[in-house]
Symmetry: C2
Subunit: 973 residues, 2 copies
């Protein structure tokens, strides 16, 4: 066997934790300098094979991060998998390194030069001249990569060779002897200095990071060597060596024993790249292997079938961790303790307390928070716009736009009902567009979507009833409430009052967002069920008795009052009553008689099909992202546009059927819904003076309502998991909500506040994932496309919708209810509380491996969940009564309940399931600091990592106090 290994020196190490003597040595090597990071290594293994009359090197495996083998028969790359190797081969590698040639920092710019150079240096091994020539000859054979299609094997001979592998090997052997000298110059051609077109065309380049360097492992069996010959070469400079891909080349070649596992070679390259890049001599390399040996993870063969290819882990060990290669013993110890010591060390540790974002710090100065918010957001003014230009934004805009207009129509309709059309669908559209656009332009967190919300609707309803029964002008009263509320918001902003939401933990937040999700779900289902009431089905219908079903309009008795209440007076005999439509008939005072009058065929069932179809198609398309079909990009596109595609499909189906399902009704003219009101509400004249003052009290209620609704949604949006980089601005947000309150009140438009579910959907539709990753590596969540463009577009579109009526009128309402249902279910599915609910139904052995389950007894988890369920049930019940108006205040009640839980649950348990309340946090922090100090004295070398963490933590990242760990995947819209 000939074995060549290539490798280039360049790069820097990391802070090792010294443990063993070998590690000591390594620490010394690696500690030398720290300038450049170790480049990613692309490793290619070629083996020597007989191709017809010629010997050639054929690519058989490659590694970027994980191993991919060439599957000879299938002519394809295997799936990326974790390399497994036998311990035996590792030992042999060690022996080879001890006896073989090790040439570090060889100067060389072409393969022949390197081969020559390495041979002259390794001449000390006592090779004869003939041997040297032979080896160079073999090394300079042509390289064939997997990208080149192999010759088509003739069907006949391949079929017959089955099982005769060993024979073939000897055969090759014999050939080698005969044709050794054949066509030397010819095969040299392909090892040029410039990359071949094949290399440049190779799509695989996309998968390799830009700064990557290559290493080549060449393994072969030749007949002129009587003992294994190994060489390890490291070049001084990374060099592109023609036919060897991007190869800063060679380094180790020589025959080797049969059971030698070439993978181990890669292992040193990649895992020990630090060591290999830095190694001064052979002993350094061997020390590296020894350390590696100490650290490897061993799978007992009886429990594991070595033929199974291990799928790459979902979370790739981060680069820092790889340094722990050098602190293996710590690892071993931990494992050991976890078993031996009952896992005390691992177990009793609390999860890292969540850092408080500076955004919510109490500055103590007048408008201090607001000032900081503006200061934080200013640098992003331009990027907030140009970062919006991306394909993903289109799908996000479409999706959120549909959500917004659905919301606007629904709430518009309800508001119209509640206020006798003082505020109707028209006002709802305009208000949404105005408030949304302004907020997205100037707010601290433009990812938040403003919308009408349930509590406000209920408040308006009660207010209208109150003013109507007391003879107070509703619009004027509302204006004053708006003005007061706006001022109160300013006070809250000026005093940094938002800081109190730091006292909300996951418990409170989950209560709130679950409730909102439930409302979405129940509303969608209620609306759908409404269809069955609105279009009653004649269940008694018998096809055969179709002749018995009719609905006739009977003329009223002329002797009775000819003018029905609310109807139109006509002369009974003037009309052909049987030709009237249902509505006309009733208007003119006629009566309907017949078995089919109160039934509407098909519409209810069709609505149901549209509703359920939209919902389930969206769910399926979302999941399609994880299927095996089609290239990743196409799948991602389908998943991103799933809602849009579902809507289109079912709109199409609806048009095809041609049934009169209820359609979206969009106002077409720009005038107030109620003709007797103008676009501007005047503050004075209609109400007595004391009303202007007294409206302070209801305004207070509205302010609390808005404050809670707004800030909880903001906290959810600003979650740490969303990896927002541009910071947020709770005070700035509240400021603009206040301003918009006043403006909307003057214009007689509804009030707007952050909508949790749509905002989350917005975030989720803008999530970014890493694209070029090593084969087998899972794409990483990088953050959210933070910009103001999508939001602004959504609201401008909402405003323009008034003119889009001809298109929008084809959308059936049940399709939109389906979207609503999807939004509710999707936002629910990622909440930890919901995960814990599911635990009730899972036998413990099937439960997922949640961190808190490892640390908190199941019954405590269940108890905690039960408390949440009870709280939610109470909130739900209250919400259904007139108390809905104080709903946000009930959220404060949740915070009290949470405080009481401190007495039932240990801080340890709460830290895992919920969060620790900030009061205790301060004490803990000082404790932590004490510990940190001690720690620093003990091992200063760990400081760097900590600093790095702190850096990441503080790099302008908005860290709200509430972190819902498992919510990274929520609402994968």
């Amino acid at each position: 066997y000939i074995y060549i290994y290539s490798h280039h020196k360049d790069g820097s190490p990391a802070c090792p934790l010294p443990v063993s003597p070998a590690a000591e040595r390594l620490r010394y090597i690696l500690g030398e300098e720290d300038e450049l990071p170790t480049p990613t290594l692309f490793t290619e293994m070629d083996t020597l094979q007989q191709d017809g009359d010629e010997l050639e090197w054929k690519e058989t495996a490659r590694w970027v991060k994980f191993e991919e083998k060439v599957e000879e028969g299938g002519e394809r790359w295997s799936k990326p998998h974790v390399s497994t190797l036998s311990l035996h081969s590792l030992f042999e590698l060690r022996t080879c390194l001890q006896t073989g040639a090790v040439l570090l920092d060889l100067e060389g710019y072409s393969l022949p030069q390197i081969v020559g150079g390495s041979q002259s240096e390794s001449g000390g091994l006592g090779m004869g001249l003939g041997l040297r020539e032979n080896i160079s000859f073999v090394l300079l054979r042509k390289h064939r990569h997997q990208t080149k299609r192999t010759k088509h094997r003739s069907p006949a001979d391949v079929g017959k060779t089955g099982g005769a592998a060993s024979e073939e090997r000897t055969h090759t052997h014999a050939h080698t002897r005969t044709h050794t000298r054949h066509a030397q110059s010819q095969s040299m051609n392909d090892i040029g200095d410039t990359p071949s077109s094949d290399q440049l065309k190779n799509k695989f380049m996309k998968k390799i990071p830009r700064d990557a360097e290559a290493s080549n492992v060449l393994v072969g069996e030749v007949d002129f060597l009587d003992k294994p010959f190994v060489a390890f070469v490291r070049l001084a400079q990374a060099t592109t060596l023609g036919g060897l891909t991007e190869v800063p080349v060679p380094t180790r070649w020589g025959p080797q024993p049969a059971s030698y596992h070439p993978v181990s070679c890669h292992v040193i390259c990649v895992l020990f790249s630090d060591v290999a890049y830095k190694a001064r001599d052979r002993d350094d390399l061997i020390a590296g292997i020894d350390e590696f040996l100490d650290e490897v993870i061993v799978l007992p063969p009886g429990e594991w079938d070595p033929k199974i290819r291990i799928e790459p882990p979902k979370k790739v060990t981060p680069a820092d961790k790889r340094k722990s290669v050098l602190s293996l013993n710590e690892l071993g110890q931990m494992n050991g303790k976890a078993g031996a010591g009952g896992g005390l060390s691992e177990d009793e540790e609390m999860p890292a307390p969540h850092e408080m974002g500076e955004e919510l710090a109490f500055t103590g100065r007048f408008c201090g928070g607001l000032y900081l918010d503006i200061k934080r957001k200013l640098p992003w003014v331009f990027s907030d716009f140009y970062e919006g230009f991306h394909l993903q934004s289109i799908s996000a805009v479409l999706f959120i736009y549909l959500g917004c207009i659905t919301n606007a129509i629904t709430f518009g309709g309800l508001l119209g009902d509640a206020t006798d059309n003082y505020q109707g669908v028209m006002e709802s559209f305009l208000g949404t567009a105005l408030a949304g656009t302004v907020f997205c332009l100037f707010s601290g967190q433009p990812l938040i979507i403003l919308s009408s919300t349930g509590p406000i609707l209920i408040f308006e309803k009660l207010l209208y009833e109150f003013s109507k029964s007391n003879g107070i002008d509703y619009m004027e009263l509302r204006l004053w409430i708006g003005i007061h509320s706006c001022l109160q918001c300013f006070v809250l902003v000026a005093t940094d009052a938002s800081y109190i939401i730091r006292y909300m933990t996951r418990f409170t937040e989950e209560g709130f967002s679950s409730l909102i999700s439930f409302i979405f779900i129940s509303d969608a289902i209620k609306k759908m069920a409404g269809s069955f009431k609105y279009y009653p089905i004649n269940t008694a219908f018998r096809p055969d008795y179709v002749t018995a079903y009719k609905c006739e309009c009977l003329a009223p008795d002329p002797s009775e009052s000819p003018c029905p209440e609310g109807g139109v007076c006509v002369n009974v005999t003037d009309l052909d009553w049987s030709q009237l439509s249902k509505k006309e008939c009733l208007t003119y005072g006629g009566s309907l008689q017949g078995t089919s009058c109160k039934f509407v065929p098909d519409l209810a069932l069709m609505s149901f099909i549209l509703f359920f179809g939209t919902y389930s198609m969206t769910v399926s398309l979302k999941k399609f992202k994880f299927s095996r079909y089609f290239p990743t990009k196409l799948r991602k596109l389908i998943s991103d546009f799933s809602i849009f595609m579902s809507i289109m499909t079912f709109v199409g189906l609806d048009m095809l059927m041609g049934l009169k399902t209820p359609k979206l009704i969009v106002p077409t003219e720009l005038r107030p819904t109620r003709p007797d009101r103008g676009w501007l509400v005047m503050p004075f004249a209609k109400n007595p003076w004391w009303v202007y003052v007294a409206s302070f009290v209801p305004a207070l209620l509205v302010t609390i309502l808005i404050f809670m609704d707004q800030q909880i949604s903001a906290v959810i949006v600003n979650r740490k998991e969303n990896k927002l980089k541009k910071g947020c601005g709770y005070h700035l947000d509240l400021f603009w909500v206040g301003v918009l309150m006043a403006v909307c009140s003057f214009l007689g438009l509804p009030w707007y506040v952050a909508a949790t579910v749509i905002s989350i959907a917005h975030i989720d539709s803008l999530k970014m994932e890493s694209e070029s990753s090593a084969p087998g590596e899972q794409p990483q969540f990088l953050g959210v496309r933070e910009q103001r463009l999508t939001g602004i577009l959504v609201f401008v579109l909402t405003g323009v919708s008034i003119f889009l009526a001809p298109i929008l009128q084809y959308i059936p309402m049940p399709v939109l209810y389906g979207v609503f249902l999807y939004m509710g279910v999707a936002s629910l599915s990622g909440i930890q509380f919901w995960d814990r609910m599911k635990l009730y139904m899972m036998p413990s052995k099937h439960q997922p491996d949640f961190a808190y389950l490892r640390h908190v007894p199941l019954r405590r988890v269940h108890l905690f969940t039960l408390v949440q369920v009870i709280c939610l049930a109470v909130l739900w019940t209250l919400k259904s009564t007139f108390l809905a108006i104080i709903f946000p205040i009930m959220i404060l009640g949740l915070m009290v309940v949470r405080k009481l839980l401190d007495m039932v649950f240990s801080q340890h348990d709460l830290a895992w399931i919920d969060d620790v309340l900030p009061v205790k946090e301060k004490k803990k922090k000082s404790k932590d600091e004490d510990k940190k100090k001690k720690g620093k004295e003990k091992r200063k070398d760990k400081k760097k990592t900590d600093d790095l963490d702190d850096e990441v933590r503080n790099a302008g990242v908005c860290c709200p106090p509430l972190v819902i760990r498992s919510m990274t995947w929520i609402i994968p819209v």
Copy 2:
């Protein structure tokens, strides 16, 4: 640390393949005797912990096959996972074994005795008396198992200990010193000779095989030892030792270094149980470890996060494989070659050729096959009945029953149409019941379900038309065809003609079963689409104009012919025409007028909801088996009864809605559908004599049709993957099909033949899986509940259904179409051809790791699939024409196509994607035998394994020539 390891000697080894010196030694040990198999080992690891004032042993991990850790915080067992351990700890274990006490075959029946015994023997290690006392004291502490609930931790103190693990450790240490002597006698109580109630109650016992023996590993840290102390004890007899679970106890204890990984201890127990059971002395054990070390699989830490718990592999390495522990080098070599040599050895090997079952051998004697079939089935006569008593049978019967009556009704209806009710639903029910019962009682393969099939239906249709137009009596002609066909079947049986189906490969079989599946799917969808034609929807309906929709019956013009064709003559003026139903109106010659006459509201959409709902609910419930919710048994129950539950749900929904959806119509009286025919068809009198002879020709067609249909289905049922143990009987089956042909012809009932899809559903609903398996181990497919009871019950129920009409009439037809659709889709989903179809849409990196993909280039696979697709398309087209009657003969055409493929594809490729045709098989076989002979000479020691394989192969197992590897999971009904 104290480390105790316990182990019992008993059992036998397997044939090792000697490679290394250590292996040589092991082979010697293990080769000694061969009587008893090594029992399964249950290993428990206890660690010494401080509980209040007392020391106690606390269970922290256990192994049956995989590792389960105690998650201290969560107070639960972790999921079973593959034990990973660091190499370092394995080395330390080796050192410990070299220096510690090794006591083999110790006599001892209680823990104190063992502790005493082991101490006296290990006294040679130079322990002082005090030390000995101390160790016994510690060893005899109370054992606390995970089953006992730990004391509730006070919330306050637990919360504060976060991160202070190391402190606590020292704390425990100090305590140990103080309280060492405390309460010695008290803690002794629990180590009695009898199992405690806790132990007996432990549900975990179910997971441990009956013959299992236990081993205990005790690890602890004490302050009176200044150096590690290890002991390894093996008892001469397995003994139940009270508080140590089921513990044939002790063996190894002693302190150990900190980084020692206790898992490695288990590793020797379980993986080296052969060695550990047989070891004569310390050196044997160490040799075992050395061998183990050589064989372990190593995962590079950089590619794998050691914190990830590795899920147990789906396929557990079989016990034989574990012996390859001793032939690791072979493995290493193979791996090495796979990489280094381009994977030649692994790659070029063909899949094992499929053994031909003796069932299809050509005996050359008269009725030789039939005789063998009867001989094969006779021993199972009784077990065929008593093995049917199982809960699973109920769900199987219900499911298949529903499939059968749906089929009976569908085909009954179609036959009635085709033959002017000479054979209608009534005949279909009776025939199904009669033929099915007889076949299940006497056939060679009672798992096959007889049913009407499409080709027969088409034949009957053509036959009826022919006889009608030529004035030949249909029933008599049919009787003669039946008689001829029956005789022809007898000839086929007598001449062992069934052997020719050996020439059918996967290609042909897949073509056939895909086609049948497509027919099921397309029929279901066609039927459903029919609803929309049968119940047209008035898409122009406007709710407001309900007054305009009516349907009136207009009296015919009295001046015209008063008796309409096919109607009833009435006096026009006698009737109140407006009160007539649609049907009456038309009967009496009236005409319908109005916009709603030709529409039926709601029924079409409701049918669709029922159809699609049944289908998708069944699919979801089937999948529920793999969800995390509810205990496994409940999930299995839900999955088993999924079709039944879906049907019940949607029948319920239908009843709730109360709509007149089309319902199942079951005949209620036992009389022929056509009143002018009797129950018995007379052979003579109605037709001229030459018809009796001439009917031989159509009979030939029917015979071919029946032969192919029957035998292909039989081959699919008798697949190797189904692991049938009672053998099959192709000749016997055909014999009974022939008999039933004649009987049915005499009674004027339809003809019956094996129905592929329902038979597969039958098999799948009777699949058995291993129940008590080690935690983490996947349940193994054990075989099928082979018996005659379910089949008989299904057909008796079908017969009785005539009297079940009052219940069955509630089932809407769309629900049954949904079941049809499910059957088609489910049977399609497991076919390899279908898998390959999917490959077209998958980018190669997402393709599943099918064996053939590793060995055959993707484009060849695609080409093969394309050929199949074209064949299927042609078959489908032909099927839709009058050529449908020669459909089974077209299957023969498929065989010809397959033969031609030999010229396009290499035998190697075909062996992987399809099967090699038996002609070549013979040549290959002789070649193989040659090879085998050589192989035998080379290594006789492998013979045992081969013999075992042969034994399994020949143990009465029915091995049809067609093996569809990936079909184990088809139609998971």
